[in-house]
């Protein structure tokens, strides 16, 4: 159906991004809105010990955040979602919508990147699986075609001895976009880091994984020194803009602070 309208149609799930855009008359050509919530089963949240977590496209942020499965197996995601907007917005918004908006500061994105989520994209012709690391192409831009929908977000089973945290920096304690968002996820083998994922939001044209920071820790022990090195790498690599919300220098400094804090928290958690 989306295909037949060729861009004059938009899918609607929570509407918390789309409706303000419609009101601002930013979508002059929009003729049709397709309500996905009518599709049964699209809001399912399931967990399988081998396949991991499956979040249906229309599952609300509240439903995901409150899900006992998510809280047990993916506490980092549950906590990240509580930093978004308000209860009223979370009751309607979806993670799918949050990542499709593709704003650099999207609060669910760093965690999904750090947990290496995979997105199932579907259209009339078929489906494809896209790792989230390949999904974002620019501010408000993704690989999603006009006639495609994300129908499912899959998050692999967290490896044993892994833990993660998402830290959000914003001027107030509520209702703010992230000025900097850092998600850190570490898998341990003995004393050293077998796998490290550090994802940043709001400091680049898209949410990003921070390869240099990660390689600073791979195979190493998590200690003050290695953490400082990783934080420094993350800070020097990020490419934020200067805008009315924050200056570039401050965002880079805060990448350092938050990365350091996130990794330190994980170091302490593992003890």
């Amino acid at each position: 159906m989306l295909g037949s309208y060729k861009g004059d149609a938009k899918p609607l799930a929570g509407g918390t991004d789309l409706i303000p855009q419609i009101k601002a008359r930013e979508m002059a050509a929009l003729r049709v809105v397709v309500d996905l919530k009518a599709i049964p089963g699209l809001d399912a949240i399931t967990y399988d010990a081998t396949k991991g977590l499956s979040i249906g496209a229309t599952a609300t942020v509240t439903a995901v955040e409150r899900s006992p499965l998510v809280r047990q197996y993916y506490p980092m995601l549950a906590n990240a979602l509580t930093t978004m907007a308000s209860p009223q917005v979370r009751n309607r918004a979806t993670i799918t919508g949050n990542i499709c908006s593709a704003v650099p500061s999207a609060d669910s994105a760093p965690t999904l990147l750090a947990m290496e989520a995979i997105l199932r994209l579907q259209n009339q012709k078929g489906e494809r699986l896209v790792p989230i690391t390949q999904f974002f192409t620019g501010p408000r831009q993704t690989v999603l075609a006009n006639d495609e929908l994300i129908t499912e977000i899959r998050i692999p089973v967290p490896p044993p001895k892994s833990c993660g945290v998402y830290l959000k920096l914003s001027p107030r304690k509520s209702m703010d976009l992230a000025v900097v968002g850092v998600a850190a996820f570490v898998v341990r083998e003995g004393e050293t880091c077998k796998d490290v994922r550090i994802a940043l939001g709001a400091v680049a044209p898209t949410p990003i994984r921070e390869a240099r920071a990660e390689s600073a820790l791979l195979g190493k022990k998590l200690n003050d020194e290695s953490i400082a090195e990783a934080a420094g790498a993350a800070s020097s690599e990020c490419r934020p803009i200067d805008d009315h919300r924050a200056a570039r220098e401050y965002r880079c400094d805060m990448v350092y602070v938050l990365t350091k804090r996130a990794l330190t928290q994980l170091k302490e958690e593992a003890l």
Partner: protein, 155 residues
């Protein structure tokens, strides 16, 4: 135009609405229930908070057709004739209001909060009301009203 059926404060309605009208517009203009307010129109202030199928939502971010088949409670649906709902009674007695413009939304969010957490901690009260902006009161007496409402609701 789209035909929708909604239940508002226990009463069923059959309405003909423009497809891009919001639930807020329908409540205020079509049903004449002006207790729910428009503060910002984009989900940032909570003045339009209503409860839809048991969950608090910003009515300005719900398209009218999305409300088809749903049960909606607005501020007008809380009192039982002359008898105020315990939350309304608490705000009334403690004085958790000044100009009153945020009050309907604040009370609806409180209702949702207490349904979820009947005895909320101070932190849970603050977080539960984070979507409702108030410029007048500094929130202090709003928090007290919620605590009193919690006591009244538990009897």
């Amino acid at each position: 135009m789209k035909e929708i059926r909604i239940t508002v404060n226990g009463k069923p309605y059959e309405l003909s609405v423009r497809p891009h009208a919001t639930l807020l517009e329908v409540i205020r203009e079509d049903l004449g229930l002006t207790g729910t307010k428009e503060g910002c129109g984009v989900g940032e202030c909570g003045a339009c908070t209503v409860i839809m199928n048991g969950k608090s939502v910003n009515a300005c971010l719900v398209l009218a057709p999305e409300a088809d088949g749903k049960e909606i409670t607005t501020i007008e649906g809380l009192a039982d004739g002359d008898k105020l709902d315990p939350i309304q009674q608490a705000f009334y007695e403690i004085g958790g209001l000044q100009c009153g413009f945020c009050t309907p939304g604040m009370i609806m969010s409180t209702k949702a909060l207490l349904a979820d957490k009947p005895e909320p901690t101070d932190q849970e009260i603050r977080k539960g009301l984070e979507g409702n902006f108030c410029r007048c009161t500094g929130y202090t007496k709003i928090f007290e009203s919620v605590r009193e409402a919690s006591r009244k609701s538990r009897g």
